[in-house]
Structures are given as C-alpha cells and as structure tokens.
Symmetry: D2
Subunit: 415 residues, 4 copies
C-alpha cells in the first residue's frame, strides 16, 4: 500500500493508488462493529465512521465540487456534518459531538464512499491534460490526507477501547501486524558533527507545505542514540519515582502529572489494576495495545508518551531530546535504527513555521499553518502510519500533553 | 401491557407479566440501529443498550444471585458495568461513560437478557410457597423498575436524536402511537374545597416506598385547571417575551435561561433554524418529537419543559402550579381531564419524604430515598409511560432544570 | 440592639433603632483592616465593605430615591456596583467580582453611609403622617435587611480568614462574645403530639413575606431533642467512619463528600494539619472560629455543617431532622433549649412557598420568593444573628451543600 | 535606577544598587491603597503586596538562609506563603489564592522588607572576599528578579483596576511618566541581509540562563519595520473586521477570539461602553492605561495584545512577525527605533532552549528552564520595565493568549 510517487504519475498509476488507499481505510475498520465505529471517547479523538466519511468529504469538497462538472452531492447535509476544521467552508458539526452521529449509519457512509469513489474515478478517466495539472495535486493531497486519518483510525479506536473496562482487543492477540519491534540492545551514542545542515523537503514528490522551503540550519556537535528508548528502560524511570520528582519535569508537565494522576505511560496497567481481576495475569506491568492486554515487553519501544513524559525521561537519563533538525540530519547516519515504523519521536522543537513558509492556496491553506503554535514536532512515523506515508522531512505535531498516539522518544545529548 | 395487580397474583399471572414487560423493552428498541442504541448524548441520559442491560442486571443482582441457588452469572464483569447507582454493591462504571461501551455488543446484551429471563422463569416455575413470599415482591419491583426504564429509553433516545443535525425520527411520521392528544378547549377552572385530604398509596397493590405512608394533609380552597397547558398557549408566552422577562422567573431559572440560551421549550425549532434548511417547512414553530419534526400543534399539551419554564409560564398566566397534594386530591374530580398519559405535570412541591417515610430494605433502600433533596415532584404520567405503570399517588421527580422528559404543566390558583 | 417592634412605632423610636442598627454594622467591621474588608473568598461570600455599601444602597434605592424629594445620590455609579440581585433595577456588578472593588475605598464607603444616614434621618424628621405610612414599612424592611447582612459580615469574614493559612482570629481569643454555649447533657427526647398546628407569622410586628400567610398544618406524633447535637457527639460520628459510609448519605451529599474531600465539619482541623505546625497545639481536633483556633469543645453545638452532613448524622444516630413545622410547633415546648442564639438548625423541609404566599410589592418582590427552589429551611438563629432579629416563624434558607454558616442540627424521630 | 554592571562590582556599588532597587518597588506601590495592594484579579496576576513580599522572600531564602549565619527568619510561615513556584522548596500557598492574604498586613510586609534589607546590608558589610564570590551572583540575581516583579506590579495592578467598573487611574492623568511615546511616521522597511548571526548573551555582565550560550544562527534575507505598529494602524485592522475574519488567525487564536469575545485590544473601550456613561467622553475608542481612560492616540504603539492578535494583524498587513533572532540581529541596525522602553514585541519564535542550554544551579534551576514549552518569546522591553533591566539578548516569554502586558508588535517580511 506504499504510495508510489513517480515524477509524472500516469493517470493509471494514480487510479490504482486511489483505489488502494481507499480500500485500506475500510480494511482498518473491518475488525470493528458498527457500534465501535460510531463512538468518540474524547474530543481529541474521532469515531472511525467519522474518519471514513470525512476523508470522503474532503475529496467531494476539494476535488469534485469545484472540478467535476455536474457532480451531485451524495447528501448536501454532509457538508456540515463532515467538515473538520475548515473555517472558509462555513459552520460545521461541533468536534466534541462527532460521536452522536448514529445517522448516517455505517452502511450509508459506505454508500457515500462508493458514490464519491465512482465520481473520482470518472473524473480521472475523462480528465484531459489541462485538467490533469489541476486534479493531480488535489487528488494526491487527498490521498495523503486519508493516510493521516488511517493512523488516527487506529489511535482513536485504541483510546476508545481503552475506555471500556473490558479492554477489548482491536485485533486477535495472535493475529498479524501492528506490533512494535524489539529495540536492539545496547543503546549506542552516535557522535554527530555540527555545522550547516540542509533540512526540509527536497524538490520532487509530494510533501506538505509545513516541510518547506528547504533551508539551511546550523547544528552544534552532539550525539544521538542509535535506537529508541524501550519499555524496560522506561519502567526503570517509573520505578525510580520518575512520576513523583518535580525536578525532572517541565512546569506544565508537572501540573499535568498531578491534575491527571499520571503514574506511567497511558496504556500501562499495574498488576493490581481491577480491570485485570478477571484475567489471571502474572505480576508486573501489563500494556494495552491493538492486540489487547499483554505483558510489558522490555525491549519494545515505549509508546503512548506525552512530550512531557518524554522530556522528563530524558532529564532523568542525563540526556535531552534531539531537535527536529538534529533528528533530520541524523536520518541517514550509518548504524542508526528505528527511525520510522515504530513510534513517532518527540523532539525538543516547537512547531514553528520554516523561514519563508507559505501555506497552500485555497481551502488547503488551513491544512497546517494555522496550527503552528503551542505544539511540538514529532518525527519518524509509527507502526500505525501507512507504509510509505512519511519522509525524513515529515513534521508531525501534537500538543505536549497528548499521549494517545504511538509516540515515544530517542535520546540526544550535547558533546 | 398493563400491569395486572391482583391481590394474590398467581405464579402464572406473574410469569405472563414478566414476559410481557421484558418483551416490551425490546419492542421499544426495535426501531433503533445498534449504533443508535449505543450512544449517550448527555450524562443524564443513558444508551438504549445500557437500559436493556441494566434492567437485566437488576433481576440478576437482586433476585437471582441471592435467591436462585446455583445461578451462574452471564458475565461477572457485568456486575461492574451495569450497576447504576447502588453504592452498597460496590464500584461501578462511571455514569458519563456509558456511551463508550461498544462491548458487550447489542447481540451480547440480547443474549444476556435471554440468559436472565430463562433463569427467572425457571425460578418461578420451581418456587415453593415459602419462596414465593420472598420472590414475588422482588420480581414485582423489578418489573416496575423496568417500566421506568422503558420511559427513559424513549426520552433518552429522543434527546440523542435531537443532538443529530439530521433530526432523524424515532418512528415513521405516519406510524402508530406516541403522539400527544389535543387538549379540549377552553380551559375551565375547577373550584376545589380546602380541608383534610388523604394522600399517598392506599393499601393493596404495588407502590414505591416514596408514596408511603398514606397520610392526611390540609388543603386550602383553590382552583385547578381542567386540562393541561397547550402549545398554542405556551407559544403566546414565548411571543410575549416570556424568556426575556426576569420578573417571571425563579432566580435559578433565570440563570438557566441565560446560561443555556433557552428561548423556547427544548425541542422547538424556529422557522429559520438551519437544521430545517433542507426540509422545505412552512413558517412558524416546528416541534421535534418521536415522529420527527412536525409543525407545532396548538392544541397538543406543551412538553419538554423544565420546572423553571413551567413556573414562569404560570406566573405569566397569573396563576401558579398546583402542589402535589392538590393534584392528587383532584385526581378523581369530575370534569378533570388529561391527568395521565400525556405529559408529566410539574408541581410546586419539592421532593421531600412523607412523614414516617421508611425506605425499602436491602439494596432497594437506595431506590428512592437518597434522592430526596433538590428535586421537584411531577405527577401523572406521559405518553411515554407504559400504560398502567402509574397511580394517582405516584411521585415522579426531576431536578428543576431537567427538560428532556415529556414534562408539562397544569395551572392552579388560590381562591 | 434588639429591634423594638411597637405596634405603632413613633418616629423617635424608629430613628433610634435606625441609628443603632447602622452603628452595629460598623462595630462588627471594626476589628478588621481595610484589606480584610475588601476581599471575597468565594462567590457565595461577599466582602465586608460590600455589605456595608450594599445595605446603604438598599436605603438609598428603595427609600430615598423614590420618597425623599430632592435626594442627590452620593455617586450614581454605586447603583451598578452595589445592587445584589434585583433584576428589576437593571444590570449590576457580577457577584464573583465583588472582591475586586478596591475603589471606592473603605473611607469612601464610610462617607457613603454617612451621606445616606443623614438623608434618612432628615426624611424621618420631616415626614408627615401620610408619608409615614409609606416610609415606615420600607425603613423597617431596610433595617431587617441590614441585620441579615450583619450575620453575613461575620460568616463571610470567617470564611475569608479560614482561607488564610495563618488562620487569623476575628476577635482576640480572650475577648467578649460570639462563642457557642454548652449544650446541657444529656439529650432528652420530648414527645410531641400530632394534630393541627398553626404555623407562620402571627399578625403584628415585622415579618418577611416568606413567613406568611399563617396557616394550619397537620403533624404526626413525634419526638424532638431538647437540645442541639454537640461537637463531642459529632466527633463520634466522624470517628465511626461517618464520612466514609455512603449508606448514611443522600446521593448528592455523598457526591459532595467525594468531590470536596469532606472529612469533618468545615472548620475542623485534624491534629496533624500543617497549618497547626507553628502553634504547638495538643492532639485532637481543633476548631477555627471567630476567636481563632481553639481545641474542640465537646459540649458546644456543632456548627458549619451542610444539610447533607446534618442529615447523615441524623441517619447515623437512628433519627431524622425535624420538619420546619415540627420545629416551629415545638418552639415553646417546656424543657426545650437552644432554640436560637446558637446555630441555625437544618430542617427536613425544602424551602417551598406557603399556601397563599404573595411576595412583597415593588422591588422587594425579589426579596425572598424567587429563591424558593433547591434550598432547605433552617430555623432558629445563631450566635452571629443580631439579637432580636429572628422569630419562631422565621425561615432562613441555604442550598444543601452550604457549610460556611453557623449551621447545625437538632434531632427528631417518629413515634 | 539603571543597574550598573561593572565587571567587578565593589561592595559599595552593589549596596547602592540594592537600596535603589528595593526603594523603587515601594515607589511603584506608593500610589496604591492597602486595599489595592491586596487583591488578585486573575490567577495569572498577583497582588502588589505579594510581589513586595515574594521578592523579599527570594533574598531571604536564596541568600540569607544559606549564607548569613545566624539569620533569624522574620516569620517562618512566610516560607510557605511567599514561595512562587519553586518545587524544590516544598509546598506553597496556591497561586489563585494570593489575593486572600489580607494578613500579613501591608504594614507587616513593609516590616518584613526592612528586616530582610537590614540583614542583606549586614551580610554585605561583613562579607570577606571568599564570601563575595558566593554572595555577589545571588544578590545580583535577586535584584534582576525584583526588577521583573516591578514590571508585574504595574501590569498586574493595571489589570485589577481594569476589572473595576469605576476604571480608576493608577496615576493622575497629568502626572509624570509611564506613557507610550509616538511612533515616528511613516513606517519604513529596513532590508536585512541573511547569513550567520551571533545571538545570545555576550560574556560580561549579568544575563539570565535562558540567554545562553551565545551561538550562531542562520538568517534569510528579510525586511524589518523601523518602528512599532501603532494604535491608529491597529484601529484600521479592527475597523476592517479583523476580529471577525478567521482566515487571519491561528486556530487557537480564533478559538480565543470566540471564547473570550475579543473585539479589540484588551483595554480598549468602545464609545458606547457603559463604563464611560458617567465620563462625558467624545466618540471613538478610549484606551485604559496607567493614567486612566484617555482617547486613543493613533501614533502611540499598540499594547495589551496577545500573540494571537499580533500574528493576525501581521497577516492582515501582508507581513509577519520577526523571529527572535531577526529581532536581535536588527537591534543595532541604523535607523531602527522603538526597540525598547515602549512595548514588548511578540516574535514568531517559540520559547525553546538554546542549543547547549544549562539551567542555573540550585534553587534557581527552576527560574527559567522549566517554562520552556507552550510560550512565545517577546523581545525589547516596555514602558513598565525598569530602565536598564533588559539587554538585546533578553528573552521575555508569555503564553500566546496573554494580553495584560505592555505587549505589541513590529512587522517583518520575507524578501
């Protein structure tokens, strides 16, 4: 399901890609009942069904309505229901109430997807060369947009299942995929020289506006860990009183620890957790994930961390988080591992615009730029990220207290 | 589906009643999808599926576990999931998170109901005379309990559907039942003498503990309206600025008007409401109900009122609400109409214990008594109340700001 | 400082009374600095300075502006600043922000009081007989109003001082007055017959509208305690786990215990309280009061209780709270003690209107009636109540969670 | 009152400086009554009296207790009351309740200051050379700390006075100082070359840890405005619907506009504001400041802006905010004006640690570093900043919604 990005994608290649991406969303939803797909467990998360509809709405609104002559909306009321945050497109259903939309039913959302898919494919089939230049970038943006929501389908349903005292598994424990790999022991420090580094998207292929323009930055000599911090290491931080020692925490982080009662990463269960009473589990930490509750695997990367927890761990370890540019510059370093496909890696960089940043034109202007305050950059990509979706220049971002993502950390230190 | 209350109900009659009540809950849920039955639109309302499971849990916990030897719980974890508010039974799933229980699935809840039904019927079939004295009152309580939740199934799903901008109907507009009848014009005042009145449950037949003991009260001469206030009359209050005139409101009511932005009863839609844009409706108020959006019917009783709105209307009309005892004493007055089966009628009586009140024994001690503060009494019964469920002495109660019930008013005045 | 209420008070008597009441407010404020008098420790409490100004505003607004020809307002902006809750008088300074009014200064508020006092005395001096009939009831209402605020001056500043970790005393520990008396041991039950009782204000003398009309009620036989519950008894309830046993509590009360972390009455300090670290106190409970921190006096009436705590104690003691009518009927019972002057006594009566209740005319219509929902009646009067202010028919009222008043309880039980 | 920073400050010079800084705090408080100095108008602001005590506590805790042998604390309970946010020093009085501390009285706080001043001067007088190396940096830090609170004394009391409907002036309108100067018309763009720039504190003299280490950054060619944005320009933004156009705002900024009802900078009053009703003001905007309400001065720098408003204005103006490094690099540019002494200038830089940042040792480790997330950098210095307190490398920081500071903006743009 890798996104192929030929320099000049033929209509045929794009059509195949479109069909593959669209099908993958449904595959991700397949293990879930209609009830599962309907609920919203917190304002930050959205129902699966909403993701399926919203990604469809994006194609309908940004591609079909302006560019497919004679296109008939599946249901004009969906324009209001499935807009996420585009102010330019008018009022929309309030985000915290997405879980109340039992109607349209899941079946109707499936029909909505088919309706839009047919119209997109028809548009592709009949596009002349002049249309192509317009259509191709929008369609490509829509596919990358849908891939972002594919990750959210997983992280959001995981949060919803976590809120159920029965702790149901998204996938059968013995089933395929979506497990974190082992981190290779031991951790080694890779020395990195300072100097000028080029960062940001290299011309060619798709990238989001927030990765551009490519530009130079100055780095100082430093070292970066060759792998991610793993659960065994993080368990030592917990055992060492990490969550009780304010001196390790940023001020807002310590406030979050106290206000939210954090004692461990988001989905860790202590052995005496009442939700485990019917399980007959052995002692020690249990970790809830897409395959349900399983004993903590010491060598698996730690995940479901907020930035605050990542930064506190780094402080405890006598290190720090890398900046996003240190991370990017180290991307192709020899001997570095686990740079993507495991967990997103919190960096010590606020999500600021690059020098010379210009948002996309039109509706997509609201895609990234308007969120560039109060968030931190994560780099890499996770086990939940569709393969091929990310790049070394890819900038993910979340508020510092967010902990429902597959988000962990890699250490760095000054030399 | 009327609850038959023979003085000595035979096992057979009780069995039939049990089956009828249990079946009725499923009939009420039948028009709803699994998605509809899963969600919770506010902390005060519960999902349909939760009501189906909780009423089953009640029989399991209060009847089967103590009294059916060898009973095997369907799933011991349901003890935690479906306890509503019984502190004596230990911790329970938090009320505001009932809508997150996509598991157990609706099918599993149906299986749970069948499991418990079979066990109850087996218990009934084999009960000796000694058992009977124990079992019969618990089973009867459980049936009245389930009937109370049948009403909530309707009022809670109506609120959930109201939260959906598509305003879907619970029942097809042309379908049977659940409509409010016309109030007979004009309103007549019935003069009522003062003096001693007997109130509370008359010995014989089932009643809740809060209706007892029967006792005497002193009434002053007064008049009571022979019918309910209707929508046409309430629309005049709205048009006369009723929601903008603080002098008509209790202090907490006026605060609620301003904080919640109340402008009309809960489910009234003004002609320019954006949710009506796709409907092609004529001018004037539209009212959302179990049959969907329909033009306001001036002669239908007004419903979905808070106590605050009922009291403000009465003030505007130069009248007042009856006390619960005036209402009860007038129950059999000649020429009085609409005393039940339309809307619950707010009274000007706080929900205080009767003199000599004693709560039920055991778990059921928490049934009514612990809620006797901060609520107002409603009398009568609504279109959503299962026929036969109420009595003239029946005391319903809600906080004064609650407006998602079929709750309206009847006027009274001093003479 | 007793309010003399002759049948036909001469202007002279009323003048003396006016001067005495007005002077008493300043005497209550005298131990407090300008800083003390400025702050507001919670939205329910008001600054001393605000009380001094608001009671003055009441005379200015209700008496002088309509009835003193040529009266010049001290500062027209005070009309906005010092209105409490009278909607008919237009917008007003938000209640939670009363503590931000450093200006007018305390000195200016004193000048405001003198300005209004002079105008009232001039009005009295020159009132003809026709004026008198108008002026006298308003002036008398204003005096009773000011007395109510005199009690709040004490309870509100006590809360404010309690919020200060230094726990400063309002009065020197050895100084005069404002201490609770001992409750005479042991507690005796006074049997009370049932039957018709007359309740409400007897014609003649001042009373608030909420005490009227006088009417008959039916009581059942019961017993009432001859004295208040004292601190020693309440400490046994605490020691017996009273605050950890949900079965003793009303549902909303138990929620308050958990949400607020209640463990004892409002101003009780456990021996290990860090605020006592610099005090060198002996073991056992300490109680904060107007004279500062003092060891719990077992025979003093318990105070600073919410209704929820009073009701839970009564449940624990195998008794109940009296209704407000049982209390009123017992007022003159032989051998009954501590009916006023110690603590307000929570009753098991919601604050509902009396049959035939009519609010006062004009602005004073908002005085009592609009608060008649969601509150409980307290009877008696406290050590902080100005002597002579209350009557047997006097109805005080607070929400059930309020615990910053001198509020305690007397037990009753069914016979 | 300029802080002299000789390379080796003699004890004498430091003593003079100490006395001058300490005296200046009292001068700032002098126009305020004890009531004014006691209140807290929001959790982010602190009472004047608290600032006076906390700065004293800092010297007592960080300097005297560890380094002045035999020092007797003025009152050991102040350790709890006047700690601001130092977790290492144990629990402390909750920030939102600082306004409840009527005790200690203002007079006692003055006595506390004298007590500590005497002890510091005695320490200075008797310090040997070895002591000096320890004492001097701590004392210097304490002076800079007190200067920061001097600015807060002004901004916090201005907010408190703003909350008073009487809108009292801190200083007489005709009195000296604390007015913003005119911005020279017209605005000119200064072209700035790209390339390597050195930023951060140059060795020598005092600086905070967050200004270090000095390091190189790469800048792109850009232009920066030669003066601040003024009120007349900002009024055009308002008139052009700036507060109604979501496309100009960051997402969190637009949410703040709607949630807080922002329509103009924080202390602007529209001509029809009811608070102006008694003032007889002419039409047009009025602006509340330290000298009270005055007509908007079009050429005065706009102040009391949040970052969100500054960024929206820049977007509207077709420009952007400078980064903190562009600002610092332009500090000595020819023809640039208003770089300090008027308003703090929001930059488009999140408050991140400099590469190689190390916090101060000991208690002061909590001074800056733990706040390095979720805030934006402001540069320059304001009319409320003590003269000489800032440097070109000085980094002030506030959350993006903060608008009670003298905070404005200077434009920049890409070339």
């Amino acid at each position: 399901m890798n996104l192929i990005r030929p320099k000049l994608p033929a209509a045929e290649a794009l059509r195949e890609l479109f069909e593959a991406v669209r099908a993958h969303s449904l595959e991700l939803a397949a293990p879930l009942s209609a009830e599962d797909q309907c609920i919203q467990s917190m304002p930050d998360a959205s129902p699966t069904k909403w993701h399926l509809a919203h990604t469809t709405w994006f194609f309908e609104t940004v591609l079909l309505q302006p560019h497919a002559s004679g296109y008939q909306a599946f249901d004009p009321r969906f324009h209001y229901l499935f807009n996420s945050y585009y102010e330019a497109l008018g009022p929309r259903h309030p985000r915290p109430q997405r879980g109340l939309l039992t109607r349209p039913s899941l079946d109707e959302v499936h029909a909505y997807r088919r309706h839009v898919d047919r119209a997109v494919l028809a548009l592709l089939a009949h596009a002349g060369e002049a249309d192509w230049a317009t259509i191709e970038p929008i369609l490509t943006l829509g596919l990358h947009h849908e891939q972002q929501h594919q990750e959210l389908i997983l992280t959001d349903i995981l949060h919803a299942l976590w809120c159920n005292p029965l702790l149901p598994a998204y996938r059968a424990p013995g089933g395929p995929g979506l497990r974190l790999a082992s981190s290779p022991p031991p951790l080694n420090w890779l020395a990195r020289p300072g100097g000028v580094a080029e960062v940001g998207h290299v011309q060619g292929g798709f990238a989001f506006d927030n990765e551009m323009p490519r530009h130079q930055v100055l780095l100082r000599p430093h070292a970066i860990a060759d792998r991610l911090v793993n659960c065994g290491e993080f368990a030592q931080f917990v055992a060492d009183g990490g969550y009780q020692r304010p001196e390790l925490w940023l001020s807002d982080g310590w406030a979050a620890v106290q206000a939210q009662g954090w004692r461990a990463p988001a989905y860790w269960l202590a052995a005496d957790d009442p939700r485990l009473a019917h399980e007959g589990v052995p002692g020690g930490w249990q970790v809830f994930g897409l395959h349900g509750v399983r004993p903590l695997e010491p060598e698996a990367p730690v995940a479901q961390l907020s930035f605050f927890e990542a930064a506190a761990y780094a402080e405890w370890a006598g290190a720090r988080l890398p900046t996003e540019f240190e991370w990017e510059a180290a991307h192709d370093a020899p001997d570095i591992t686990q740079m993507s496909g495991q967990v997103w890696q919190w960096t010590r960089s606020s999500y600021d615009p690059y020098p010379g940043f210009r948002p996309l034109a039109g509706v997509a202007a609201e895609y990234n730029g308007k969120f560039m305050v109060g968030q931190l950059v994560l780099r890499g990509g996770s086990v939940a990220t569709p393969p091929g979706h990310t790049r070394p220049s890819y900038r993910n971002f979340f508020p510092p207290a967010a902990r429902w993502q597959f988000s962990g950390l890699r250490l760095a230190k000054d030399l």
